[in-house]
Amino acid sequence: MDVAGEQVDETTDESLAARAVAGDESAFETLVVRHQSRVYRLVRRLTGEDGDAQDALQETFVQVYRRLSSFRGDSRFSTWLYRVATNTALMQRRARSRRPVESLEAFTARFDDEGRHADEAAVLAVPCHIEQTIDRERLGEKVRLAVDRLPDLYREAFVLRDLDELETAQVAEILDIEPATVRQRVHRARVLLRGFLSSLAEVTR
């Protein structure tokens, strides 16, 4: 397509979205196929459960279809899509009555009275070797539960930034918070999970 002398790539998300709004059903379906795996992984990580993830995946694309005409192209289509998916997953998670779980706060970094690390270097470095000391499947199960136990605000930012590997600025746009706040929340999640991983070595000895 040539608009005002400029080549427009008809395969970009944004051009497919424009075609879908104009009534091209195949363009919408191309967007679904292109993004369904990544959206599933995101909502699965955010909801922490298979059933919720399935519902959130379906609801995300229903919402995208219905609201596509409100996509103005101010941000990337993927950012807009992930915002819809994130909000849908979080609503799904909150709607489910959940058993209270023990917070991960106990695994925060520990310092002595002078502000030095309370643990020895060997203990602090445990996560670097944890995959050699714990069965992969068992470790995976424990880590998934630990991610699910993160405080909500930390988990959302951590999933988007560290697990889905989005840029900090994109996460800020999706969550509608400042980049500095994203870094602060992701940092807290990393500190707690690092502490949790360190603790696993003690229980497997």
Partner: protein, 83 residues
């Protein structure tokens, strides 16, 4: 942060440090502290590994049957888009 400043201060700014958004002078102080602190070096190594371990543990694949049924669900579900 100088060497005589505690590890706790460095941990507080660790993500900013690793993302390269700290002011140059603060970054230099952190560099100096970490170079002399075995525990901070270990902590940072583990802190950097943590996201990868969590990412691999949660690398969920879209179940084939769910992928297959999604499009049929959407075709049945969707009405006309809002204009």
């Amino acid at each position: 942060m100088k060497r005589d400043v505690a590890c706790a201060s460095g941990v507080e700014v660790l993500m900013d440090y690793l993302e390269g958004v700290l002011p140059a002078d603060v970054r230099a102080d952190v560099d100096e502290h970490v170079a002399a602190c075995e525990r901070c070096t270990a902590f940072i190594a583990a802190y950097r590994e943590t996201p990868r371990i969590a990412r691999e543990a949660t690398s969920f694949e879209l179940p084939k049957e769910l992928g297959d049924s999604l499009m049929a669900f959407l075709r049945a579900k969707r009405g006309p888009p809002e204009r």
